[in-house]
């Protein structure tokens, strides 16, 4: 049996490895080559790893570049390419592309290229706002349902089931006619009806997260539910939500186009690509291609880009998750 004093030395040596030394070491000479717990190797942050994985996907890089170009085209383009989009000009009706109007004019005499930019602005803005509304509601709703569980969870999720079984478009159409068609109105209407899927995803994620030890640890420290949700659950479910946002934007842009196409979209002077397509459908057989293909093509490209980016993000985030 060792004497007490000896034990104390072991307990309080400069480090544990050397405290139990075979050879008595001079005091102060106990520091060794590596810190007691070993070096901390700097590794890439999770996000950097995710970006590396994303960047290794060529298609996703192209999609991202295209999308940036479209954003610049829509928001910066009008600064360099001035066009009249407020006063209709019957004299300029449905002109083919020319030096004055690079993509011709529509049936009201508006410059088609400028109109593409204007429509793109509303599409991207509504996509962003609507997905933001949807993701905020969906994340909170899903996180609360998942964390609290039990009866509340069952009630909340059955409510989601009910809403999901209502044809989304009909409701949106009804609402769209009731409210004036500003960008904000449409965003809210679309957003309020697209949080259902994200809420399910977040709930699923939270259900697995809430049994993780770090959540239990926070509870033993006395954290309340609000803290657990905002500090632990939502940040950790973020990867799911970020991926979902891209799909939500694509869906909102499509929904907006659809609304416009059947004539329930934005009100003048705002326009959307759907409005343009809707108006152009009567001309497509007359050979006025410039009213159909540019706007149709742009719509397809933007939606496709968002979907490709979303897919690539999901893969990239998975890599990060695997590392942890």
């Amino acid at each position: 049996m060792a004497e007490p004093q000896d034990i104390s030395a072991v307990g309080f040596g400069e480090d544990l490895g050397q405290g139990v030394a075979l050879i008595p070491a001079p005091s102060g000479g106990l520091h060794q080559l590596v810190p007691d717990a070993g070096d901390v190797y700097a590794t890439s942050s999770g996000w950097r790893l995710a970006w590396r994985e994303y960047a290794s996907n060529k298609l996703a890089l192209i999609a991202l570049a295209l999308l940036i170009l479209v954003v610049l085209f829509c928001f910066v383009g009008p600064i360099f390419y001035h066009s009249n989009q407020t006063l209709s000009n019957p004299l300029d009706q449905t002109q083919p592309p020319s030096a004055a109007h690079l993509l011709g004019t529509d049936e009201n005499g508006f410059d088609e290229l400028g109109r593409l930019m204007l429509g793109g602005q509303s599409a991207l803005e509504i996509g962003a706002y609507a997905s933001l509304v949807a993701i905020v509601i969906g994340t909170l709703y899903g996180a609360i349902a998942g964390l609290v569980g039990g009866v509340l969870d069952a009630v909340l999720m059955r409510f989601v089931d009910v809403l999901l079984s209502i044809p989304f478009l009909i409701v949106v159409l009804v609402l769209a006619t009731k409210y004036s068609g500003t960008v904000l109105d449409i965003s809210l209407v679309l957003g309020i009806f697209s949080w259902l899927v994200p809420s399910r995803l977040v709930r699923g994620e939270v259900l697995t997260l809430r049994t993780r030890d770090f959540v239990i640890a926070a509870q033993t420290m006395g954290a309340n539910r609000r803290r657990v949700i905002f500090r632990h659950l939502i940040p950790n479910a973020m990867s799911v939500t970020i991926v979902n946002i891209t799909f939500l934007i694509a869906d909102s842009i499509l929904a907006l186009a659809l609304l416009g196409f059947i004539g329930f979209g934005l009100q003048f002077p705002n326009t959307s690509w759907g409005d343009m397509l809707g108006n152009a459908q009567t001309y497509v057989t007359n050979g006025e291609w410039w009213l159909v293909y540019p706007v149709g093509g742009l719509l397809v490209i933007v939606v496709l880009c968002f979907n490709i980016i979303g897919d690539a993000l999901r893969d990239a985030v998975d890599v990060r998750l695997r590392r942890r």
Partner: protein
């Protein structure tokens, strides 16, 4: 001796990652003769599994053998066509994997899975293959194999699944068997059974077996020779007895010295290896162990040592050691003396718990009285009717005094983790009381509850899951203080830095995220977090079972030191009796939701009264070939009964060698064997104290706590 069944010469395996190459295995030589078992021991990342996979040609993506040869008798396996290799795999060379749940196909019955290799390699008919499957399943000791053939993997317990895995490997009578951590995922009692099966089979079938494991105890009794691997190199190879008694490599010496042993004196700290294994994408130029080696010289850091020594015992070291480490304790240095005296008194003071809790006049810090916790088993999608319940914790009573460390041991499913959660107040008991400082935590609400939580903190098993991956270490350590509203930001920061120093982490750790740390470092962070609030009790649930042996002793020593330093009580929950005995003053043994024995470390280890405790001690693999090879009997037969429907009376009776009728009828009360020692058994292995003490039965344990 016949020509070796498997001969690996100068094998080098690399794994190509996107930006770097992992030099996983380098210059490895091994030979296994027919009917021989070769042990391959190493920590995680030492390359032992990659070596096994190289032999099978099943390396992960990017992995390839870059040099050397692997010979199965006379056939060279390196560079063999995939088609030829497929014929050998499962037929001549078979493998047993660690995780039987993920290695078996969940959609096929076990009969089909055992029959599959027979049909593939022997072209046997369905009927023949099934007959063979039945034969092999009988061979591995699966009870009632004919009935179980149609079962699916999820219907079997872990031990039985592992038997099925062995049956699959043996179905084609392989010449070489690779067993990669075959028992790591199993409980000790089941582990002993599986190792016995492997032993018997090897003798009967005459295979060459490569037993890959991290557990020195497992290889000790089962292999003639042992190879020790470190960072992709074989550092020492010797006959088992010689390796344990006369090792030459400092790594082997340190590894063996760092394992807590049941028979050792718990007041002595464990030998530990500082630091971490090297990063194998950029291995050091010299000896790979040099950075962590006590005896390293400049030569070690510059030049890699070759394998030298006599034919039978070889080692790769410039400054070899002679035999096992003798731990002598350093005298205190002036700087550490003042604080040290405190520790010494705490560690060496005869544990206050040995006497009754009321001896010093104060109530116990933690008191559990007849605690019951049952998890409902529900049926129906909507209404969730309760059809039955899992009896996780049944009528457990115990107490813990201030500053005392209490250990809870038991196999998986014995309810030890549930008990831990009840103590920290994450779960509510379904019956009985959990009192901390005489108050019940789960009856409190709001701010009162929040403040009360400071008293009990917890440390978790999985170092990967217990830290929020989205928070930096600084925020992780500050969080408890933020929640409790303690101190200004500046104070909190100061405290965080202090704690980081205490657990031996560099300051640059503050700004890093958990994934940047190794398992042992994360466990240190978790320990620091548990200490932030200066709790009176710390509950540590399997604190080291996810860590490698060399890291484990670092963390154990640290926990022991900090517990004493902070004067906390601790409750250490583990399946590993040696770990618990090293950390605790008193130990409780649990079996299927019940506390079956309670006593000091020596009571439990030297004077075990309950047959379960006794069997548990006997089955623990000891890193000593002499002891291991002398073991003849398997400690406990059979499987753990279901906690949904536990046996009547004594819950251990279905597996107990001493069970009689009364055991099924009457639940045994707690009996006293000495003031500190109690066990619940009708036929204890020790003589209980006179009837007066035992008369009170089960309540006596609780009563001592209450009075």
């Amino acid at each position: 001796m016949a020509s070796p069944a498997l001969k690996v010469h100068d094998l080098t395996t690399e794994i190509q990652l996107s930006r770097a190459t992992v030099h996983a295995v380098g210059n490895v030589d091994l030979e296994i003769a027919e009917g021989e078992t070769l042990g391959l021991v190493g920590e995680s990342g030492s390359g032992k599994s990659i070596l096994g996979l190289s032999i099978l040609g099943l390396l992960p993506n990017g992995g390839h053998v870059t040099g050397g040869s692997i010979k199965l008798y006379d056939r060279e396996l390196v560079g063999m066509k995939p088609r030829e290799l497929r014929e050998i795999r499962g037929n001549d060379i078979a493998m047993i994997f660690q995780d039987s749940l993920s290695s078996l196909n969940p959609t096929k019955s076990i009969g089909e899975q055992v029959a599959e290799p027979v049909r593939l390699h022997r072209g046997a008919s369905r009927k023949e293959a099934f007959d063979r499957a039945l034969e092999v399943l009988e061979l591995v000791g699966l009870p009632r194999p004919r009935e179980r053939m149609a079962d699916y993997p999820h219907q079997l317990s872990g031990g039985l699944r592992q038997r099925v895995m062995i049956a699959i490997a043996l179905s084609c009578e392989p010449k070489v068997l690779l067993a990669d951590e075959p028992t790591t995922a199993l409980d000790v009692t089941i582990q002993a059974q599986i190792l016995k099966v492997l032993d018997d089979l090897e003798q009967r079938l005459g295979m060459a077996t490569l037993l890959v494991t991290h557990d020195m105890g497992v290889v000790a009794g089962r292999s003639k020779r042992i190879n020790v691997m470190y960072a992709g190199r074989i550092v020492e190879t010797a006959p088992s007895e010689e390796l344990f008694t006369a090792m030459r490599h400092p790594y082997t010496q340190a590894l063996l010295g760092s394992i807590p042993r049941l028979e050792s004196d718990a007041s002595k700290p464990l030998l530990s290896i500082p630091g971490l294994p090297p990063d194998l994408t950029h291995p050091p130029t010299g000896c790979r162990f040099a950075a962590r080696c006590r005896f390293a010289t400049d030569q070690c850091r510059a030049q890699e040592p070759p394998l030298t020594g006599s034919g039978d015992h070889q080692f790769a070291c410039w400054n070899p050691v002679e035999g096992p480490a003798i731990i002598t304790v350093v005298r205190p240095t002036a700087s550490s003396a003042p604080a040290g005296t405190v520790v010494a008194s705490v560690i060496n003071e005869p544990a206050p718990a040995v006497s009754a809790p009321s001896s010093n006049g104060s109530a116990p810090l933690l008191e559990l009285v007849d605690v019951v916790r049952e998890y409902p088993v529900t049926a129906g999608a909507l209404l969730k009717r309760k059809v039955n319940s899992v009896k996780a914790v049944s009528n457990v009573s115990l107490y813990v005094n201030p500053g005392e460390s209490f250990g809870l041991v038991g196999e998986s499913g014995c309810g030890k983790t549930s008990l831990g959660k009840l103590i920290v107040g994450i779960e509510k008991p379904d019956g009985g009381h959990v009192k901390v400082n005489g108050e019940e935590l789960f009856r409190k609400r709001g701010g009162e509850l929040r403040r009360a939580r400071r008293v009990v903190q917890m440390m978790f098993q999985d170092p990967y899951g217990s830290l929020d991956p989205r928070m930096r270490v600084r925020s992780i350590l500050r969080e408890p203080m933020q929640i409790q509203g303690i101190g200004s930001t500046k104070d909190q920061d100061k405290r965080v830095r202090e704690l980081l120093g205490e657990v031996g982490l560099p300051v640059n750790a503050l700004e890093r995220y958990p994934h940047e740390f190794s398992g042992g470092q994360r466990q240190r962070i978790a320990l620091a977090r548990a200490l932030v609030l200066e709790p009176k009790i710390m509950v540590a649930d399997e604190p080291v079972s996810a860590l490698d042996v060399s890291i484990r002793s670092q963390v154990l020593n640290l926990m022991k030191r900090l517990q004493a330093e902070h004067g906390m009580a601790s409750i250490v929950i583990s399946h590993d009796l040696a770990v618990v005995k090293y950390l605790s003053d008193r130990i409780g043994v649990m079996y299927l939701g019940r506390l079956v024995e309670l006593g000091t470390g020596d009571d439990i280890y030297r004077r075990a009264a309950h047959p379960y405790t006794d069997a548990l001690i006997k089955t623990i693999p000891v890193p000593d070939p002499a002891i291991e090879k002398a073991k003849t009997e398997v400690g406990i037969r059979g499987e753990l009964p279901s906690p949904i429907d536990p046996p009547s009376g004594c819950r251990f009776r279905t597996r107990c060698p001493l069970a009689q009728e009364i055991c099924a009828e009457v639940e045994p009360p707690m009996r006293r064997f000495s003031p500190s020692h109690q066990a619940a058994c009708h036929f204890p292995l020790q003589t209980p104290e006179p009837e007066t003490a035992a008369a009170n039965g089960a309540t006596s344990a609780a009563a001592t706590g209450v009075s």
